[in-house]
């Protein structure tokens, strides 16, 4: 690709003034014969140009390739009656007329070198301004232009009707409204093409508003090249292109100009880059002005996204947006609990019934086998599987919100508020992904190009409450906090976000001094979610959960069970487990839990949770399993105070979710940063655990409630 600033070293493809190029015979046979008018159809891709071409020409079509290119060339004929015909060439669809692509080069060369009698520029009425930009470029070329304003019906339906008369007035050229799909307005268009082609109306000069320096530069360049510009190039166009740094035109001019003058020109254009940008900017501004004339000021910018805009006024509001996100998160949490609660109970009933039966069947092979099946499998992994409904509903709601286009807003609004505290720009996006799972989020930090910002994000991503942690929340919060459960859950998640903000602020102050990050995001329009897309998303995530539960978590749960069973025996609770290897490990670490009144079992649960957060539930299942009929939850209630449970949850929420995340951190940031991050989060989670326990104790939550 020829960049616009590659200088004059690109002797180029098609713009040489030489012998007539091959492949242009249609035109050359009868040059400028007015009985055989020639028109070309130009426009941006996807504006309905091909449909219009087909409508105009019908079956009278010649197809082939543009000489030396793989771009299709189509030419057709429209009979105008009275023995005259109009040949129409369908130019490739282009967004602009630089020489960035073959299509653009072909379109520009055709108009410049073949000089059709008239150029029909197809504009999409639903995206008027974009098309007008191309028109601004085409109107610099020395060929009469007629606008075919397509899709006027769609624009009207979208609530932004385009006033063709006003547009024609603003542009100073003829505008014919058409609907290519139905063929409406084609007769008028052909008549207009014929009229303008026959008259060879000259184009009005577009007034581009540029700063004085730019216009001065344009003028100077024009004066320098004008005496040397060769046919068929228009001097004004050449001057424009030179200022814009067009390499092909620069090469041409070099071949035209004597050395002295070329040197003067080179000197003049040495710092032309800002001027080139100003020129392109002026084209955008011109297009915007013209569009506003035709559509009306209000709707020109609002377009047909009226609803999207209305919702966004709230959803993207710095304050209401965040509040709305909070309310919505609460709604998601509440709905998840309500819908999945009964399902979970049902599954749990099946699980224990099935576990008992399987245990009874395994009892034939001895108490070890029974313990293995009942506690190793059904009380741990089985317990985890009963959380499938929770996850399914959560993922479903998440995917629904995502597919409506809201999630992008949530990311944006949170990003903006977080950026105020020092976390900036793109850091938030990987974090947002972290709400699903931290591992891809760590890898996702690759979108951040500055290393310091990336490191910062990698350190913070493990604090994003991932879905595995939400399972632990869903498991532990309701039995301990009853009516306050939603508030506690939201509070815990908020704590995580607060810690992210706090650490982010502190770390960016301490280690990563501010770099300016800018980040432009494109928000999709709100839309009705597609059930297929939502279904696929939910299924993919659930499959991943089941796969983990079925493989790695089974192995870990079994290992935990085995450690809890040896050397005493598979009795589960009672004296046997108190002397197990697991108890010994836990006891060794018990002093660490003492400030929070945590016994060794909770410590072991936290430890195993390091392998994968869901394992916490499986471990608790093994450790608090009783021979009695009492449920796991009531056994835990009988031995753990709400304050301790809260501290446990805080640590679970704040510490690194799993080995996978640590491995990802190491891969992305190196061993040292990985160790630093782990130690940091260990310290943070431990300190916050103690702090929360102390606070809860003050509120009198350190008493065991007892079963019930």
């Amino acid at each position: 690709m020829n960049g616009p600033h590659t200088g004059v070293d690109a002797p180029s493809s098609g713009l040489d003034v030489g012998p007539p190029r091959p492949g242009t015979r249609h035109a050359d046979e009868t040059p400028r014969a007015h009985t055989k008018l020639r028109a070309a159809l130009a426009g941006q891709p996807n504006v309905g140009k091909s449909t219009l071409f087909a409508r105009l020409t019908g079956t009278a079509l010649e197809t082939g390739n543009w000489p030396g290119k793989t771009v299709e060339r189509r030419e057709g004929r429209v009979t105008l009656g009275a023995g005259t015909a109009l040949r129409i060439v369908d130019l490739p669809g282009t967004y602009s007329l630089s020489t960035a692509s073959d299509e653009e080069r072909i379109a520009r060369d055709y108009v410049l070198l073949e000089r059709p009698d008239v150029l029909a520029v197809v504009l999409d009425a639903t995206a008027l301004e974009r098309g007008l930009y191309l028109l601004a470029e085409l109107m610099l070329l020395p060929v009469p232009v007629v606008v075919a304003l397509n899709r006027i019906d769609l624009a009207e339906r979208a609530g932004t009707p385009v006033n063709a008369t006003a547009l024609a007035e603003a542009l100073g050229i003829s505008v014919t409204p058409v609907i290519a799909r139905t063929g409406q307005g084609l007769t008028e268009l052909t008549a207009e093409l014929q009229r303008v082609a026959a008259a060879r109306e000259s184009l009005p000069l577009i007034a581009f508003e540029v700063d004085q320096e730019t216009s001065h530069l344009l003028q100077r360049a024009g004066v320098l090249v004008a005496p040397h510009v060769r046919v068929p190039y228009p001097p004004r166009w050449v001057a424009h292109k030179l200022v814009e740094g067009d390499a092909e035109v620069a090469a041409l001019v070099r071949s035209w100009l004597p050395e002295v003058e070329h040197d003067a020109l080179a000197q003049l254009l040495a710092d032309a880059e800002p001027a080139g940008m100003a020129l392109a900017g002026a084209r955008y501004a011109w297009a915007g002005r013209a569009a506003r004339c035709a559509v009306g000021d209000q709707t020109a910018s609002a377009g047909h996204h009226v609803w999207t805009d209305r919702i966004d006024r709230v959803a993207l509001h710095p304050l209401f947006g965040v509040l709305g996100l909070g309310v919505l998160s609460y709604g998601v949490y509440d709905l998840t609990q309500r819908v999945s609660g009964p399902l979970q109970d049902l599954l749990d009933g099946w699980r224990s019934a099935l576990g008992e039966r399987a245990g009874a069947a395994a009892a034939r092979y001895g108490p070890w086998a029974q313990g293995f099946v009942e506690q190793g499998l059904f009380e741990s992994v089985g317990l985890l599987v009963t959380f499938l409904p929770v996850l399914a509903v959560f993922f479903l709601l998440f995917a629904l919100l995502e597919d409506t286009g809201y999630m992008a807003r949530a990311a944006f609004v949170l990003d903006r508020s977080l950026s105020k505290i020092g976390l900036r720009g793109k850091s938030f996006l990987p974090m947002f992904v972290g709400a699903g799972c931290n591992v891809p989020a760590v890898f996702g930090t690759r979108v951040i190009e500055s290393r310091s910002a990336r490191l910062l994000t990698i350190l913070l991503v493990p604090l994003v409450p991932c879905s595995a942690r939400l399972i632990v929340l869903a498991f532990l919060v309701p039995p301990f906090f009853h009516a306050y459960a939603p508030a506690v859950s939201i509070g815990l998640i908020t704590l995580n976000i607060a810690v992210i903000a706090l650490l982010g602020w502190a770390l960016s102050r301490l280690f990563f001094r501010g770099e300016r990050q800018s980040f432009v995001m494109e928000l999709p329009r709100y839309s009705v979610p597609s059930l297929t897309a939502v279904g696929i998303s939910v299924w993919t995530k659930l499959k991943a959960f089941l796969r983990d539960a079925g493989t790695m978590i089974v192995v870990i749960a079994l290992a935990v069970w085995a450690l809890s069973a040896f050397p005493g025996g598979p009795a589960g609770s009672g004296p046997a487990i108190e002397s197990s290897y697991l108890a010994r490990i836990g006891r060794f670490l018990e002093p660490l839990g003492a400030p929070m009144d945590m016994d060794w079992r909770l410590i072991v649960a936290i430890l195993t949770g390091f392998i994968a957060k869901e394992v916490v539930i499986a471990t608790l299942g093994v450790l608090y399993a009783t021979a009695s009929e009492e449920s796991l939850v009531s056994t835990m209630q009988a031995s753990i105070s709400p304050a301790t449970a809260l501290a446990f949850l805080v640590i679970t929420m704040l510490f690194i979710p799993c080995v996978g995340t640590v491995a990802a951190m190491r891969r992305e940031a190196g061993t040292r940063w990985m160790l630093f991050g782990t130690a940091l989060l260990l310290a943070v989670s431990y300190l916050f655990g103690i702090g929360v326990y102390e606070l809860a104790s003050l509120a009198g939550l350190d008493r065991i409630m007892g079963a019930g």
């Binding site: 950026s419 900036r424 720009g425 996702g444 310091s452 770099e515 800018s518 432009v520 928000l523």
Partner: protein, 98 residues
């Protein structure tokens, strides 16, 4: 117009296309075109959000099932120079440009 857009992006922070369109008085598709234009001139660089390469280290891969177009743009060195925005801290290159 392009200069104004570049300036706005050079100011840093996060901004979405709708806002830019409103500020510049153009439509969203045109802002998109202008961003591409600035990229072509070497002032901006799109990062991430390229969902064509399925999940290739992209932070938005989980969101890719929908038509969510989360394209992000940053200033290139050239753009920074043009805007005269000098980073206070020069990031060490880690030799792995992704």
């Amino acid at each position: 117009m392009l200069t104004r857009l570049l300036q706005r992006i050079g100011e840093g922070g996060s901004v979405h296309l709708g806002e830019l369109a409103l500020e510049l008085g153009v439509t969203v598709p045109v802002v998109r075109d202008m961003l591409k234009d600035l990229a072509l001139r070497g002032y901006l660089r799109p990062t991430g959000g390229d969902c064509n390469t399925k999940c290739g280290g992209c932070a938005f891969s989980t969101a890719c099932h929908s038509a969510m177009a989360a394209v992000t743009w940053t200033l290139t060195d050239k753009g920074r120079k043009r805007m005269d925005v000098r980073p206070k801290f020069v990031a060490k290159s880690d030799g792995r440009s992704t």
